[in-house]
């Protein structure tokens, strides 16, 4: 009975993107740690994760396919500058990406919280 709320597209999407946001923070931490390592290529969430999510949403079967979709870390194919020593990390870019990721994370936790609060309101009849 409670399941339909937690199967709605918005909620499932928010959960998946939240997983990705936390994993992206790991990737940024690794990039910043290796900002001076020669030959290091920056990593990020593999782009096919977002593409698969989009495809699932437009096909309309997100709740069914969601369990199989997991974000993965992969080398970023469009990393911009490559310094002479082969390192492709720009520290400003990493810190900006980190800030953007923090705002995304904030937004997604808000979406999940609102979904839960809606359910509580339906149960208690009072807005929480």
């Amino acid at each position: 009975m409670v399941d339909p709320v937690f199967q709605s597209d918005n909620y499932v999407l928010a959960r998946k993107l939240l997983d990705a946001a936390v994993l992206r923070q790991d990737a940024i931490a690794a990039n910043v740690a290796n900002a001076e390592t020669p030959g290091y290529r920056r990593v990020d969430i593999a782009p096919n994760f977002l593409e698969q999510l989009k495809a699932s949403v437009s096909d309309g079967n997100l709740p069914a396919t969601a369990a199989a979709l997991r974000p993965q870390i992969a080398a970023d194919p469009n990393a911009r500058t490559i310094r002479p020593d082969g390192n492709s990390v720009e520290i400003e870019h990493e810190l900006l990406a980190m800030n953007r990721n923090a705002v995304e994370h904030e937004y997604l936790t808000e979406v999940i919280t609102q979904n839960i609060k809606q359910l509580k309101m339906a149960i208690t009849g009072r807005s929480v």
């Binding site: 936390v22 940024i28 931490a29 690794a30 910043v32 290796n34 290091y40 992969a74 800030n99």
Partner: protein, 139 residues
């Protein structure tokens, strides 16, 4: 699985930069030391880093690499020789071999290490903030 994402990676980087800072401080402190316990002038020390695979990702093989101090080596290049016959460590020709510490190079290393340390610290702060926000889901 970390409670705060990325903390093991940042911890390695912070420790490595701290070691680098310590070695730079040692070099600067000994920039004028012409006599060490082993005899001869002070030779500057250099920290080298290496990556270590902190977390692997199953079948795909990708993963997250951290950083750690590989070793602290001694720079064997000879220091400058200064003519100063009055110096207690002068050789027979009156030449004193100074340590091979280049202060401007050490200062650049110092600044780089500090900034890298600060950058990693801000990553940790952000990760902790995200973890605290996650704990407030539903409230």
């Amino acid at each position: 699985m970390n409670l705060i994402s990325g903390i093991d990676l940042s911890a390695g980087a912070l420790a490595a930069q701290k070691t680098r800072l310590d070695i730079v401080a040692q070099n600067i402190a000994n920039a004028q030391t012409t006599r060490t316990a082993k005899g001869g002038p002070y030779q500057r020390q250099v920290v080298s880093f290496e990556t270590e695979m902190v977390r692997t990702q199953g079948a795909t093989g990708g993963g997250l690499q951290g950083i750690r101090v590989a070793q602290v080596t001694t720079d064997r290049s000879p220091g400058q020789q200064v003519y100063n016959p009055q110096h207690p460590d002068a050789s027979a020709d009156g030449l004193v071999t100074m340590p091979n510490v280049n202060l401007s190079q050490e200062m650049v290393d110092l600044i780089t290490a500090s900034r890298t340390y600060e950058a990693n610290l801000s990553v940790v702060k952000n990760a902790r903030q995200m973890a605290m926000r996650t704990l407030e889901i539903g409230k």
